[in-house]
Amino acid sequence: MENKQELIHRLKEQIIKQLKLEDKKPEDIGDHDPLFVEGLGLDSIDALELIVLLQQEYNIKLKSAEEGQDVFRSIDTMADYILEHEGK
């Protein structure tokens, strides 16, 4: 089981690849930066991609759209959610 910092770095790499953020490097994304509107400026299509990413890479299904708002607040909140739910 990887630690949180390793997971955060891997998440950043996966998000850059999945969302085609070719102008970004993992170090450009702050752990607590907002993912939507400000910060990375992701949109609703990106939100769907993040849901797919959780399912494909971590075998985690979100229970509801409302839950997604909290989970996808930042890379840090995503990592916490994955560590809490992975393998359950």
């Binding site: 999945q18 070719e22 991609e49």
Partner: protein, 209 residues
């Protein structure tokens, strides 16, 4: 009041390895496909964060329209409904369609799916420049200058548009092939008269690589 006429005030061509604006090469690259378009985007300082998410057709359109409008801040003062777009191509969104089909073998990607229509390029450009004028995307075997001329002239003569970005925009085998024209109703002859023959003549110019 001075008489106005429809004029082609600028034209941008994107083909393998080259971007041409009004007969001058403004970017040359040795790369092909997506790598070439990314290099052109950076080289021409197009500055639009959504660029990298786009399919090749939208990337081509974004670069071409950026080059067409770069020095035309005056057009930003027109009402959003005054500027429209009329594009055509042969291959619709086949590159994005194939990419989506291939990706779907693993999982259907929403980010790829949204580009599986050719007129998405018009949407991307409209979002960036806040254009809300008439638009259309036609499919034809080859560049049909007579049809584009008739359709755009009709929109402008009826007062529905003051400015129209029109022409050919296609991607096949990862290669962009675009020739977009900026057509305006201007008070005097500041460009090339908007005729089907002039559209054809500009489109058929060979700029090499």
């Amino acid at each position: 009041m001075s008489e106005t006429s429809m004029q082609i005030t600028s034209a941008v061509i994107i083909r393998e390895g080259i971007v041409v604006k009004d007969d001058s090469a403004i970017f040359r690259g040795t790369e092909t496909g997506s790598v070439f378009l990314n290099a052109a985007y950076e080289g021409l300082d197009a500055m639009y964060p959504r660029f990298y998410k786009m399919d090749l057709l939208s990337k081509t359109g974004t670069i071409a329209v950026n080059a067409l409008l770069k020095e035309r801040v005056d057009l930003q003062h027109l009402p959003p409904e005054a500027t429209g777009m009329v594009f055509s191509n042969r291959n619709a969104s086949i590159e994005a369609d194939v990419q989506y089909l291939e990706a779907s073998k693993a999982y259907p990607s929403p980010a790829l799916f949204v580009y599986t229509l050719p007129n998405i390029v018009i949407g991307e450009i409209s979002i960036r420049y806040q254009f809300k004028g008439e638009n259309a995307f036609f499919i034809s075997d080859t560049f049909d200058a007579d049809w584009i001329h008739w359709y755009v002239a009709d929109l402008m003569q009826r007062g529905l548009l003051k400015v129209c970005i029109c022409g050919w925009i296609d991607v096949i085998g990862e290669q962009p092939d675009a020739c977009l024209f900026l057509v305006e109703q201007v008070p005097f002859s500041t460009g090339t008269t908007f005729t089907a023959d002039n559209l054809r003549r500009i489109y058929n110019k060979d700029y090499g690589k």
